[in-house]
């Protein structure tokens, strides 16, 4: 199976579990059994303020060795913007040079070697929120918690943008439709928009300008993504990008109709609160985007861990993620045990897939993603 989306790819109703931890040691604010909403702060760590190196000796035109005598602050002092950090005595109290703090902050260090005064701006505490409404099922002291709760989930393969939430607003009526700027009304502020096969750069720009929180789409053309972001995504790592809305791509690059079940499920939840996260990192400690729709009522009992991802077997519903059948769905008809030769001449393990269009094709197993079965129960 392809290492693409983190499975299961579509969960109409499941107990989801999410580890919510600080990147550095801090304080955990909750205990096992505590109930949380999406915006509940679960852990907090002191942040680090922006650093400013002030070249005091240059400002005063003195030597580094003369700085200690000129300082009017000491390490640990808090200063306001414009407050003096050091001053020379001048001549009979006249012609005194003053070095002032460019920002408010704390004196973090003074270098006797370079004559610089280091100021650290007030730090914002680093907070982690629950994101998923539910119950705290585990606590990692000093780091964070695990939260579990009932929800529907659709996995994305690529995305960009932070954790956001808002009412789900279907903008197109079909999974193979294009989401363009003309379809976006003026009342999308705070909403997560549901598109179809592809979204244009203009649509993303308009959605962001109107205050939409997210866009979900089957595909996006790379030229549109680059045009909207104003930069190329040259690495499969978007964790450093913070666009004004969160984009979740379900299928991939190009025009990729959203699979019918995902589209139908999300469409059914129109108006309900959807949580989206777009950050994607394909390498080690992988992160993939997802759409979560919290479901109610929440169970009174301790939720069970999520079911493991499916394995490929005869009858599995699959999405082909390589050409020439990229984006097509089907069912596995046969799984030859021995490696087979494919069109490139390479030998690999394959699956014979009966595509929805009636054709049977042979696809490397590495190029298949297993989809949820539509017969599966949907609720509550």
């Amino acid at each position: 199976m392809s290492v693409g989306r983190t499975g299961p790819f579509l969960e109409p109703c499941a107990v989801l579990s999410r580890r919510r931890c600080l990147p550095m040691p801090g304080e955990v604010l909750l205990e096992i059994g505590d109930r949380v909403l999406g915006d509940t702060v679960v852990a907090r760590a002191p942040g680090r303020g922006e650093l400013h190196a002030v070249n005091a000796v240059r400002a005063l035109d003195i030597l580094p060795a003369e700085l200690p005598a000129a300082l009017v602050v000491k390490v640990g002092d808090r200063v306001e913007a414009g407050a003096p950090l050091a001053r020379t005595r001048g001549l009979w109290g006249l012609f005194r040079a003053v070095c002032r703090a460019p920002v408010a902050g704390t004196v973090a260090a003074v270098s006797a070697h370079t004559g610089r005064v280091l100021l650290e701006e007030p730090a914002m505490a680093h907070e982690v929120r629950a994101f998923l409404p539910g119950v705290v099922t585990a606590v990692e002291p000093g780091r964070g918690v695990t939260v579990a709760g009932w929800a529907a989930r659709a996995a994305g393969v690529f995305g960009v943008g932070d954790e956001r939430s808002g009412p789900l607003l279907p903008v197109v009526g079909r999974p193979d439709a294009t989401l363009d700027a003309a379809q976006i009304g003026s009342d999308v502020a705070g909403c997560v928009l549901l598109g179809g096969a592809v979204v244009t750069a203009d649509a993303l720009t308009r959605a962001a300008a109107l205050g939409a929180h997210g866009v979900i789409t089957g595909g996006i053309r790379d030229v549109d993504l680059a045009s909207w972001l104003g930069c190329e995504t040259v690495l499969a790592d978007t964790t450093g990008l913070s666009p004004p809305l969160t984009l979740v791509v379900i299928g991939g690059f190009g025009r990729v109709p959203m699979d019918a079940e995902t589209f139908a499920l999300l469409h059914r939840f129109a108006g309900r609160r959807a949580c989206v996260v777009g950050r994607t990192r394909v390498r080690a400690s992988a992160e993939r985007p997802e759409v979560i729709v919290p479901l109610s009522p929440e169970p009174e009992t301790t939720p069970s861990p999520p079911a493991p991802a499916s394995t490929l077997r005869v009858g599995s519903r699959v999405l082909v993620v390589s050409r020439p059948w990229f984006g097509l769905h089907g069912r596995v008809g046969r799984l030859p045990a021995e490696p087979c030769r494919i069109e490139t001449g390479a030998r690999c393990l394959v699956a014979e897939v009966d595509l929805a269009n009636g054709r049977t094709v042979r696809v490397p197993r590495a190029n298949l993603e297993i989809l949820a079965d539509p017969e599966r129960e949907v609720g509550p």
């Binding site: 392809s2 290492v3 693409g4 580890r19 550095m24 040691p25 680090r48 922006e50 650093l51 400013h52 190196a53 070249n55 973090a108 260090a109 270098s111 070697h113 370079t114 610089r116 280091l118 393969v157 690529f158 053309r221 790379d222 030229v223 190329e232 995504t233 040259v234 690495l235 499969a236 790592d237 991939g252 690059f253 190009g254 994607t280 394909v282 390498r283 080690a284 400690s285 993620v321 390589s322 050409r323 020439p324 990229f326 030769r341 494919i342 069109e343 490139t344 001449g345 390479a346 030998r347 690999c348 696809v363 490397p364 590495a366 190029n367």
Partner: protein, 709 residues
């Protein structure tokens, strides 16, 4: 590894030198290499005082030499130049020996070696059969160093269990956690070794005073130690201190290498660099302890640097890597880096202390082990060797010249995760130029992004395969340019301007790999090792690297070079045997003219005569013209005696107009005569370009199946 030429000082006899080598070994076997190198480097300027120097290292000597040889060594160290020779011997010792005495290995017992990669942990079994070691099995399991498992040993044990099941060789002890003791060649484990690049490998921040001098030397030292350099910060960078601090704060390295200042040079700025690092409050990637810092700068600054860091970092001091402007000494700092890697980084990474306890010799960073294996290959081939390891995120280039391994890492030149960076840096047009079909740039971009986000998918259509191989050519081309830049002569060194002039001098053109002297070009990594046809791997290597003279081509077919590199620590003979027999697949040999001289179409370049290796039968003769690419079938295991008689002053490795004779080996690509010239003659017209690209692939029989010539 660095090796010194054996030019003994006047007062030292070869026997004296052997005794100094014995002393070095004694020091290394007791794990005292790093302190000894530092102590000896510091007292070197005072070595004329002879025996006085001995007082400084008396504790080391007492431990390493024992009472019996004390007098002899004391006498030896009074000879002028002996300290330098002792340093040279210490630096030339293999890493494992330098760290600790290997455990005894029962003769003929099996070796099990694991490479903990960022995605998979690959385990191999080498068994002693019919008098020599052979690769007896290979298995892999997902690496488990990161969340949710966070214990590298889970993946290691899974891989070992699979290996045991596949081979029937008992590897794991009954309790399932330890290793079964060796019981002859057929059961148990005689030596267990490991390499690691898991969790992103050894990630290092390099800090120096002058970017083109100490920072560049420090970067070379870090790369040579197998590190991924996440950033290089230099005092003379064109940015203000606040921006530099912000940049530093974004880093979460495994360790910092701080260099700067010649031993008679700047102290203030070096200490200021330490202050900068303290102010940035860097945090190590693993664990919550203090950050390991290796200081390899002006030795007079060491006490102040240590004092500046205080409790904020664990500072290890190595000998200055640029003791003066004309000298670069990387081996001592590499050794300290390796020591810190083992004692601090490995000790903090999840599960690594357990892995290290199981190992017969220290865990080695994977790239360093790969370099060791290439050095072994170059030894056996004679001449220089170049290896390119094209991965999903990075491309490593190694070159071995005169026994020294040089490594460069092109951090974002890979064929999955960073495929977009390859296309952006090369230019989309330069990727597309290798394709024998028309492609729309928008479509090309979408195909590339889809591979990036689903990195394990396989190209299923011939077009997608050719696209992957086109990107491989460009990634290798760019990585070799990076490698050439890394091999620039020392700025401020003997080969270049010195002092202030060195800083003002524009960067000299890359000198890099000397291709005519390269005898072996080795490809590693998925796109090369797993190309559907080996001829395609050969075509990629020839097109991207543009070898000159006579060059044998090969691929690392089963990804065991790191395994064999680390095995070299304990059994170099076995490593060499398995390398030749099981690891390397010869692709054939390429013969091409030397130099940048354009080869106009139809110009006569050389007469080529190909005869039976034993001299029997009539030779086949060919004429190589400019622009031509000729493949002569020559199967694996076959050899031919080839004579190339250049026309009109062309040079094929023996000098302009001089004939070259060579015994060449075959492979799936056979013998390739490449008359296209180093700069390929790309036509301007799109249709002509496509036709030419197709003709080159066809000439090497490298078109994918189902795509006609």
């Amino acid at each position: 590894m660095d090796r010194d030429a054996v030019n003994l000082p006047a007062g030292l006899s070869p026997e004296d030198d052997r005794d100094l080598a014995r002393l070095a070994r004694g020091i290394a076997e007791r794990g005292l290499t790093a302190p000894a190198i530092v102590a000896l480097s510091c007292l070197k300027p005072a070595a004329f005082l002879g025996g006085q120097a001995l007082r400084f290292i008396a504790p080391l000597l007492t431990t390493a030499a024992g009472g019996r040889d004390w007098d002899r060594f004391a006498q030896l160290l009074e000879v002028r130049g002996s300290v330098e020779r002792l340093l040279a011997h210490l630096e030339a010792l293999p890493l494992a020996l330098a760290e600790r005495e290997p455990r005894p290995i029962p003769a003929g017992s099996a070796y099990v070696i694991v490479d903990c990669g960022s995605t998979t942990t690959k385990a191999v079994l080498l068994a002693h059969r019919e008098g020599r070691y052979r690769l007896a099995g290979r298995a892999e399991a997902p690496t488990t160093v990161e969340a949710p498992v966070e214990d590298v040993m889970v993946g290691v044990r899974a891989a070992l269990r699979l290996l045991q099941d596949q081979t029937g060789h008992v590897i794991l002890a009954d309790d399932g956690t330890g290793l079964a003791a060796a019981r002859g060649p057929a059961a148990g484990v005689g030596a267990f070794l490991a390499t690691s690049s898991a969790g992103g490998g050894l990630q290092m921040l390099v800090v120096g005073l002058v970017r083109a001098m100490t920072a560049a030397s420090a970067e070379r030292a870090a790369l040579g130690a197998g590190a991924i350099v996440i950033d290089v910060v230099a005092w003379n960078d064109d940015e203000d201190a606040s921006s530099r601090l912000r940049r530093l704060r974004r880093c979460r390295p495994d360790m910092v290498l701080l260099a700067g200042g010649a031993d008679d040079g700047a102290v203030t700025q070096v200490v200021a660099l330490a202050e900068l690092l303290v102010a940035a409050d860097l945090r190590p990637r693993w664990g919550d302890g203090p950050l390991p810092v290796v200081f390899a700068g002006n030795r007079h600054a060491a006490p102040a640097v240590i004092a500046t860091f205080g409790e904020r970092a664990e500072v290890a001091v190595a000998a200055n890597l640029r003791p003066d402007l004309e000298t670069e000494r990387l081996q001592p700092v590499r050794r300290v880096l390796h020591d810190v890697f083992l004692r601090h980084v490995m000790a903090r990474a999840p599960g690594y202390p357990d892995l290290q306890r199981l190992c017969t010799a220290p865990v080695v960073p994977t790239p360093a082990a790969f370099g060791e294996a290439l050095d072994l290959l170059a030894d056996s081939q004679g001449g220089q060797a170049v290896a390119v390891d094209l991965g999903g995120a990075t491309c490593d280039v190694f070159s071995v010249r005169d026994g020294q391994v040089f490594r460069s890492v092109s951090a974002n030149l890979g064929l999955s995760f960073s495929l977009g960076a390859v296309c952006q840096r090369a230019g989309w047009g330069n990727v597309a130029r290798w394709l024998p079909f028309a492609v729309d740039e928008g479509d090309l971009r979408d195909r590339v992004r889809n591979k990036m986000i689903r990195p394990t998918t396989l190209p299923q259509t011939p077009e997608d395969l050719l696209l992957e191989q086109a990107a491989a050519r460009e990634a290798l081309r760019l990585a070799l340019l990076d490698h050439d830049r890394a091999l620039q002569p020392l700025r401020g060194g003997r080969d270049g301007p010195t002092g202030v002039d060195a800083l003002l001098e524009p960067e000299s053109p890359p000198t890099g790999v000397s291709w005519p002297a390269v005898r072996l070009l080795l490809g590693s990594g998925g796109p090369l090792a797993h190309a559907p046809a080996r001829r395609q791997a050969a075509a990629i290597l020839i097109d991207a690297c543009r070898p000159e003279g006579v060059t044998e081509l090969a691929v690392d077919s089963v990804f065991v070079l790191p395994h064999l590199g680390v095995l070299r620590q304990v059994d170099a003979d076995a490593a060499a045997v398995v390398l030749a027999a099981d690891a390397i697949v010869g692709l054939g040999t390429c013969i091409a003219p030397v130099g940048d001289r354009p080869a106009p179409a139809n110009a006569l370049l050389a007469d080529v005569s190909i005869a039976d290796a034993q001299g029997g039968g009539d030779p086949v003769t060919l004429i190589l013209h400019g622009g031509e690419l000729i493949r002569v079938a020559l199967d694996a295991g076959e050899e031919r005696q080839v004579e190339v008689a250049p026309r009109a002053g062309w040079d094929f490795g023996a000098g302009p107009g001089r004939a070259v004779q060579a015994l060449v080996r075959g492979g799936e690509a056979g013998l390739v005569l490449d008359g296209r010239g180093r700069e390929l003659p790309w036509p301007a017209a799109e249709l002509d370009r496509r036709t030419l690209a197709r003709s080159w692939l066809a000439a090497l029989s490298a078109l994918p199946e189902g795509m006609s010539a």
